[in-house]
């Protein structure tokens, strides 16, 4: 696409206090080199629509705050160049499958509630070791490989917005919480499979996923939640049949002794929490 002189943003506006239904509003602004959708929204807020609301923070595709429905696809506004859309008309709406708080701000609580219910953290019996470590949990590069891509998730909600099952079934946890649950189930340092299965074995689990694969298409970080969900299904089926035995969580290995710090590598700062 040739660089446009102007770009028209068609923005979904919604102000709950006004009692009016959501409506589209068109704003045309001059294109600037390297303009992202987030840059365009900032320009519009500064110059045309001061009441326009959205959520954003890092501006570099890391924080996951600016998930929006851009030209019919869930994307990160900060990570989407206007020129890559192939048109000078940019439609921006809040992520589908969530309640709208205002304008482009979705209410992500349903996603985070489902996420928290699936215990997305390392669960082990040696609590003392977790909080006052005497060594490190041993993990091989191969074991790391099993979880690495799933740990890139930034919880932006794009996969939830793309999922056709989330759109219709409120009981379904959705791709992000399920993929993160699998990320910890597959972690060699974790021992929480049985605890998570208490939730996963119910209607909140992966059973309603019919592998549309839209979540993996939508993920701006290249995570494949659809794969995580299928792996999780297999794990749970084997578990029901008594064929799955969770390996013992990784053992603690002592910190290596007799190693001196290189002079050019600074010491890590003291913990702040």
């Amino acid at each position: 696409m040739t660089t446009p002189a102007n770009v028209t943003f068609r923005i979904r506006r919604y102000e709950p206090a006004s009692q009016r239904p959501p409506a589209w509003e068109d704003v045309t602004i001059p294109y600037a080199d390297g303009m992202t959708v987030l840059d365009g929204l900032r320009t519009i807020k500064e110059t045309r629509l001061p009441s326009l609301a959205w959520r954003s923070s890092c501006r570099m595709g890391v924080c996951g705050s600016c998930g929006m429905f851009i030209n019919g696809h869930p994307r990160l506004a900060c990570n989407t160049q206007v020129t890559e859309l192939g048109t000078s008309l940019v439609t921006v709406a809040p992520l589908p499958n969530f309640e709208i708080i205002r304008d482009l701000v979705p209410d992500l609580r349903s996603m985070f509630d489902a996420h928290a219910a699936l215990m997305p953290h390392i669960i082990r019996d040696d609590v003392q070791e977790m909080y006052e470590p005497t060594g490190e949990y041993f993990q091989t590069p191969h074991e790391l490989e099993q979880i690495l891509q799933f740990s890139y998730c930034i919880k932006c909600g794009c996969c939830m917005a793309a999922c056709p099952t989330v759109a219709t079934d409120p009981a379904y946890s959705g791709p992000m919480p399920l993929a993160q649950s699998h990320r910890y189930n597959a972690d060699s340092r974790d021992g929480g499979f049985a605890a998570r299965t208490q939730v996963l074995a119910t209607e909140k689990g992966p059973w309603k996923c019919h592998y549309a694969g839209e979540c993996s298409q939508a993920c701006p970080k290249g995570v494949d939640p659809a794969r995580a969900i299928q792996l999780m299904k297999r794990q749970l089926v084997f578990d029901y049949l008594g064929l799955y035995k969770q390996p013992c969580p990784a053992k603690v290995v002592a910190k290596p002794a007799g190693i001196t710090r290189r002079a050019d590598v600074p010491e890590a700062p003291a913990a702040t929490i």
Partner: protein
């Protein structure tokens, strides 16, 4: 736990269907390879062949197993599709009851039919 159990049986029923439906297709369409199941006539659905198969206990059992697997697989799949429409808790319970009663009734009727066919064929 119920959804994990149902899904596992859904998968197992699919595997059973795969095997038994494969056997059915083989008998119907690859008779050259498995002539033993069509001993009386070159045509697989000739009455003499149907009666001969019905006399074999293996087929009576396989018909009943296939019926059970197909009913469970199909009705569970249908239930999932309807549940995805976001229906309320009461409707879900009602649908569960209807599907269980309907499934059990159809299974009982079909199993009786397969058993009766075998018994009848053995008297011929």
């Amino acid at each position: 736990m119920r959804d994990q159990r149902l899904w596992t049986w859904h998968v197992l029923a699919g595997l059973i269907i795969l095997v038994l439906l494969g056997l059915h297709m083989t008998i119907m369409h690859l008779d050259v390879l498995v002539g033993i199941f069509n001993p009386r006539d070159p045509h697989p659905i000739a009455w003499a062949n149907v009666a001969a198969r019905a006399r074999m206990g293996f087929f009576t059992v396989s018909y009943i197993v296939l019926l059970g697997a197909a009913l469970f697989h199909g009705l569970y799949g249908f239930r999932n599709i309807v549940f995805e429409l976001g229906i309320g808790r009461g409707l879900k319970t009602a649908l569960n009851v209807v599907l269980v009663l309907g499934g059990v009734s159809l299974f009982a009727f079909g199993a009786w039919a397969a058993w009766a066919a075998g018994t009848l064929a053995r008297t011929l």
